[in-house]
């Protein structure tokens, strides 16, 4: 980009709506999560700037700032010239630092609100599931709880954590709760890696999820609801603690 174009872009940024910062963060979060969750593959070329900006409903200036932030996090590399563009680059191991940089994009208030939303979804799902399931319906939840107890890799643990809560919503026989849960997991999934790397906490988590499946199986809906809320609140509380330490 030439110097005068750069200045032009900077001027545009200055005079863009004041919530621009939040939009940049939203775009960084969206693309970052998609990369972290593997929805956009390593090496994949992102669409051109104007196309991507159009798809996300943001200005190209906002998009450029977001790409800049993603480059700083090492998630995107930009090659110039023929065959150039922005490419996804996923580092071998999800680095704590990179995830922490992403967590910095969340305020503690936003995390608390996300936790409230999640607890409402999973608590309601557990209560309904306890009334609407019989043992054959719970095979998938049992399997996920066991895999959660035996998976070493933090990224895989966070994917299983998300899958458990999606399966719980499906066991409630609710399409709406399930869709909401899938959308919510795409927001928080990657961040959970930060708290699930701790083996002691993972043990605790696996035990609590097993207890939750048992409560659902027994039709103990209040116990199931309360346990599901705890399965949500504790990792979120830990995330808030990590956020406050940044």
């Amino acid at each position: 980009m030439k110097q005068d174009e750069k200045e032009g872009a900077a001027r545009k940024a200055v005079f863009s709506p004041v919530d621009n910062r939040a939009r940049v963060e939203a775009v960084v979060r969206r693309i970052g999560d998609a990369i972290e969750l593997g929805l956009i593959a390593d090496g994949e070329q992102l669409p051109g700037e104007s196309e991507l900006a159009g798809q996300l409903g943001v200005s190209t200036v906002t998009l450029r700032e977001a790409l800049m932030a993603l480059r700083q996090q090492g998630l995107v590399t930009t090659r110039r010239g023929r065959g150039g563009g922005s490419f996804v680059s996923v580092p071998e191991v999800p680095a704590d630092d990179r995830l922490k940089a992403r967590l910095r994009g969340w305020s503690t208030d936003e995390l608390r609100d996300l936790g409230d939303h999640w607890a409402a979804l999973s608590g309601a799902a557990a209560r309904l599931a306890a009334q609407r399931t019989e043992p054959d319906d719970l095979r998938q939840l049992h399997r996920t709880a066991e895999e959660l107890a035996h998976t070493g890799d933090a990224a895989a643990r966070s994917r299983l954590y998300g899958r458990f809560h999606v399966e719980l919503a499906a066991a409630a026989q609710s399409t709406r709760l399930t869709r909401e849960q899938v959308a919510l997991q795409s927001e928080i999934g990657a961040l959970l890696c930060l708290v699930l790397a701790d083996d002691a906490f993972r043990e605790e988590v696996a035990d609590r999820h097993r207890a939750l499946v048992s409560a659902v199986q027994d039709g103990a809906h209040e116990t199931a609801g309360t346990l599901a809320e705890r399965c949500v609140r504790e990792p979120v509380a830990r995330l808030v603690a990590v956020r406050l330490g940044l």
């Binding site: 593997g38 609407r132 998938q140 899958r163 919503a169 026989q173 399409t175």
Partner: protein
Amino acid sequence: MGCSPPLATLDTDPATWVAAQVGGALEAVFAAVAAIRAETEDLLRRAAGEERRPASADLAALRPGLHRQLTGEDLVSGAGFVAAPGLLGDVPAWLEWWQSGADGVVRPLQLDLDSGQSAYADYTHWDWFALPRATGRRAVAGPYVDYLCSDEYSLTLSEPVLVQGRFAGVAAADVYLRHFEAAVLPLLRSLPRPAHLVNARGRVAASADPAHLAGSLTRGPRFGDLLGTARPGTHDGLGLVPCAGVPLVLVLA
């Protein structure tokens, strides 16, 4: 499982008729599944005849047929062939799956089947895959929330695909529950007693009885056993009529 013989009493006749109609509606979907199965078996046999492993590109030949099933059969909203892992030479797993959207356009489903990236890559645990594989027979899975393919509350009808006697995957079709309800509700409402349909586990698939809504469980009767005998029964004042040929029971309160 054959059709129940028509019963003479006036009280059971309409119920037997409704159960047969419900069975017929799903038989039409099973006919679509059988067509997909036959076409897939032909295709896989041809590859075997050429002494090579089939590849995902071979399955593209199924697309005109799938398109026909999706546009021709009202109840079918998703259809395709789901390969057993390891069947195809070029990919570890594959769904040749097509869906018709609300706009009537038929589109392919693209799933992330890389288990290193997606927690949902393994589809072999779902009833629509596991039941035909385990029993060698056709199956009705659901109602269940299908968060893998359609995001809809669905029934999935499936049949095993066999090549040289070996399980190669399943041919299947999705019926969204809201469409199934629209098809059977007039039948259920025509009955003099509050009526609903349950699957073999007692889960309500459609209902004209506000006390038993779709997705809830009707507890008490052993519906699986009743389907095994294919004969009407009663339980605690409930009338129970198996639907001809399909694993659903008509329950009259």
